[in-house]
Structure formats: structure tokens, C-alpha cells
Symmetry: C2
Subunit: 190 residues, 2 copies
């Protein structure tokens, strides 16, 4: 149940078994179906999720009614609507399982208790925040100024898993192009 989470933690920090167990205790298993939402726009986010298997995505719907995908969390990753979880304000984004997924969920109070009282976990959270920021920056500013075809090439280089595992529709929304354009570009790249 907790092997993947254990791997995640021990790869990142020095710790002991007692601390690990104290951490695990706060993470509750949660099984979600394909397309099930964990959070909808306007709700206040209460949980952080660790993906044991499957995949969740974070996306929003803009003024024109189009989906924009921000992030895919595959097995072995954390994912949530972080701004809403941090600020406890209504989320601008949706959190959705896009495959049948086995998750570990920790609620906000427990999460921040761990951060406040377990120095090793505070370090984990710092790393999560740093990485979230860096990842978002790289993706977004790596894209800016690129034409659509170069975005697809970028994805092929840096996140091929997304292209092989995610529907074209969602990939397109991740790249900020239409499915039609993505379809044309993929045939051009072959």
C-alpha cells in the first residue's frame, strides 16, 4: 500500500521507520474511477493526493469554455489544486482521475501538522513546492514563443509518456492548441 510513497520519501530525505509510519498513518487509500472528479472549480480543496496507480490531471475551463490542462500526475507523483489547498479559497481548477486510480489522500490539517511538527516532512514539502514552481516555469516559458509544431516536439523530448498515454484531446489542451491542429502536426512529424 505504501511502498511507492515510501520510495518517494526515502529517495528525497533521510528518515527513520517511526517517522515513516507516522507519515503513512495520515494517508488514507482512495479508489477513484476513470473520469471521476476529486475537486471541481469553485470548491475549496481539502486534500493532497499521492498517486499509487493511474493518473490524475489538473485543468481549468477558461472564459471561452475551453479546457486547459495544467498538469498530469502519474503513479509516484503528488497532485492537487495547490493554490486552493494553500489559500483555502475556491479553486479555479478541476482535479480529475483520467484512469481508474488508486490514491493516497491526506487532508489539509494533517498535512500541515506534519509540515509543522515533522522536520523531515517540512523538507519534503519544501522540495514539492520548489519542484512545482520550477516545473511550471520550465513548461510555460519553454513553450512561449514556440509554434505549435515545436510544442509537440518539446513534448516528445521531455514528456513522451504524456503523448503515449493521454488522449489527443487532453494533450492538445495541455499544449494550448486544438485537437485538429495536433492531429495534423502528428501526421506531419511521422
Amino acid at each position: 500500500m505504501y511502498q511507492r510513497l515510501q520510495k518517494y520519501i526515502t529517495e528525497r530525505i533521510e528518515t527513520d521507520d517511526q517517522t515513516l509510519q507516522a507519515i503513512f498513518q495520515k494517508f488514507k487509500p482512495l479508489s477513484v474511477k476513470r473520469n471521476q472528479h476529486l475537486l471541481k472549480e469553485g470548491e475549496v480543496c481539502k486534500h493532497y493526493y499521492f498517486v499509487n496507480s493511474g493518473c490524475i490531471r489538473i485543468y481549468n475551463i477558461n472564459n471561452s469554455g475551453q479546457e486547459g490542462t495544467r498538469y498530469f500526475a502519474f503513479e509516484g507523483s503528488f497532485g492537487t489544486a495547490l493554490p486552493s489547498l494553500i489559500e483555502q479559497k475556491p479553486a479555479f481548477e478541476f482535479v480529475q482521475a483520467i484512469e481508474h486510480s488508486e490514491l493516497l489522500a491526506i487532508n489539509r490539517a494533517d498535512f500541515y501538522d506534519l509540515v509543522a511538527n515533522t522536520p523531515q516532512f517540512a523538507l519534503i514539502y519544501r522540495q514539492i513546492l520548489e519542484l512545482a514552481f520550477i516545473t511550471a516555469q520550465k513548461r510555460i516559458y519553454g513553450f512561449q514563443g514556440l509554434g505549435a509544431i515545436d510544442k509537440v516536439r518539446w513534448l516528445l523530448n521531455y514528456q513522451p509518456l504524456i503523448l503515449s498515454r493521454i488522449s489527443n484531446k487532453m494533450v492538445a489542451s495541455y499544449l494550448g492548441i486544438t485537437p485538429a491542429t495536433l492531429s495534423r502536426l502528428k501526421s506531419k512529424l511521422k
Copy 2:
């Protein structure tokens, strides 16, 4: 010299005078001229900057040779090339004073010493990271799907200081449009 920084800290955390002094000690005054670079692409970032007066901007130059501005730090804000500072890898971005500015600079080692050994400062850093992430997310995903004119409106609503204080050229690079387009839109909005 340290009034603004003191305000920044005491607004955010509970602290005592001794801790404050220990923090101030690590921040060295630094005076920079308009247009002077604090960091260039490819260099490894060694300092975090607090802006006492003036303004620094973080920007990058993309494949097509165009500038894209990520962030303006006005007086009372922190700014640096955070990904490079964190990972100690060559920066993808430039850090530049765009007005004559009085800064307080803390080097990386001192910064992380404070984070590791001063719990209050660790909390400040956590808040910086959380805010940096949230701010970046809001700006970027607030923009996506918007036409150029709505980006300008967004700026008018949420960051009017930028429009009043920054050159059109840099505002345009912040919005991801050309100065020509920005000029046309501004006259349309009047």
C-alpha cells in the same frame, strides 16, 4: 536600510528582535544602475534580492530572439532567478534592474543557512515559494485563452502599477504580444 525588509517579515511571521537582527546581518546593501544586469542567461544564480527601491525584472529570450518578461519585483518584494538559485544550474533567464535600484542581497549559502536554522525564516521561505507558485499560476492560466485585448484589461484590473510604471516594450513582453499590438489596443481602450 532594513525598514522595508523588517516590515515584510513582521507582516508575515511572529518574531523577536534578536532573530530579526540575525536575519538582517546576512542581507548586504547593493546599489544598481538602470539596465544593469544582476544575472545573465547561462550563469548560476548566487543571490536572492530584496528590493528596497526601484524595480528588477526577470525575463528570458526565446528561440526566436524575443524577450519574454516573467516577473517585475517592485520595492518591498523579493526577486531572483529562483530555479537557478534552487538547483544551482545555469539560468534560463536574466535578472535586470530596470530603474536605479537599492537592493538587499543575500547569498545562497546564507539564505539556506537561515532556512535550515531559523524556523521563522523557514516559514518565510515557505510563504515565498507558495506565493511564487500561486502568482505564476494565476498569471499564466488567467491569460490562457484570452485575446490580446483581454490581457491588457486583465493587467489594468490586477496589476495597474505595471502599466503606469513600465515601458510599453516591456509590458508587451510581459503580455506576450508585440509593442505594436499593445499600442493599438491601448488607444482602443481609451
